[in-house]
Point group: C2
Chain length 199, copies 2
């Protein structure tokens, strides 16, 4: 069995940020490939009736903030809350999907660079111009990317990826599936690794 | 710093069941004492507006069921869903608080035996008679326990423990606090251990 690990995430998801810097090493330990799928959780929440971390009872929201900062510290990753938070992941997601067509080997570096810009540098990657700046710093062609992000094919890809994720039962970020087995949350990455080690 | 680990749980909480069989070993590794606090999550949910695992969108509820069974397998613990589920934890919680007065060294064995009866044997410990049977199998005096569970002092203890938990920001099960630091969920036990290892 050599199913790849499908990694679903929203760019506005702080636990997705942590997962983005751990999943490749996990996959390598397990001898699996990964497929990165940025999605729009807002569309998912419309289906499931859930909401973002911050949109909760104050008792839970306070805990969520503290837990996130502590989890980043434990992971050894810098962490800031971007402003605004949450933000729309449309621009960075489209950038990733265009790069997946034009320069597929740059998907992981770009997605990680976008997450760093957001949750390490506090930049607002919801702005297409910021997303393009992050990409050009990696050596990607900013004009080609700007045009690519505006292509209908790119827009459709993000929509269909989000729809397919919902159809597969993805309801949060990060979310992983491998051979049909679902794992929700950064905290389930050890469960994912345990699952792969025994299959 | 030698603060004990306060362990909050509802007897109807399946992840609380897993935690109940792991927290003593964790505390021993960290050189800490534990204090076990059965609480009634129903009262907590009235404050936070949350609900039990099963009371969610079907997509999330299906995942929750699968995740729980998988987490038990990973923990090496047998697991069945008691019928009914969820159930009221009043009787087993009162039993624990009476035993805490009469035979404090029996708190952990009794709580673990009650969790086993529920999530390994599928027994309905919501019934006081079942809770008492579980306790007598441990050598406790069933008549004394039955009388103790009915004492106003026992009832008040459960109510005040639940109220104090809410006041401390406890909103789920299992929930741990140590020196004011909160940890929610079975999946945060590694975070709790990491926290204690660095303090």
């Amino acid at each position: 069995m050599n199913d790849p690990i499908d990694f679903y995430f929203d760019f506005s998801s702080p636990y997705g940020y942590l997962a983005a810097f751990e999943i490749e090493a996990l996959a390598a330990r397990c001898g699996r490939r990964t497929r990165w799928h940025p999605i729009l959780l807002g569309a998912v929440f419309k289906v499931t009736g859930s909401g973002p971390l911050v949109d909760q009872h104050p008792m839970r929201a306070r805990y969520a903030k503290r837990d996130m900062e502590r989890a980043a510290e434990r992971a050894g990753l810098p962490f800031v809350w971007p402003e605004p938070f949450p933000f729309a992941g449309i621009a960075p997601s489209r950038a990733v999907y265009w790069v997946d067509r034009a320069h597929p080997d740059q998907v992981v570096p770009l997605a990680q660079a976008l997450y760093r810009a957001s949750f390490q540098d506090g930049r607002n990657i919801a702005h297409a111009s910021v997303t393009v700046e992050v990409a050009t710093a990696l050596g990607l062609d900013g004009d080609a990317l700007t045009a690519g992000m505006a292509q209908q094919e790119t827009k459709d890809r993000l929509r269909s990826e989000t729809d397919q994720a919902i159809a597969l039962g993805v309801f949060g970020s990060p979310f992983f599936t491998v051979g049909g087995e679902p794992f929700w949350g950064h905290d389930r990455m050890p469960h994912l690794e345990w699952w792969l080690s025994r299959s």
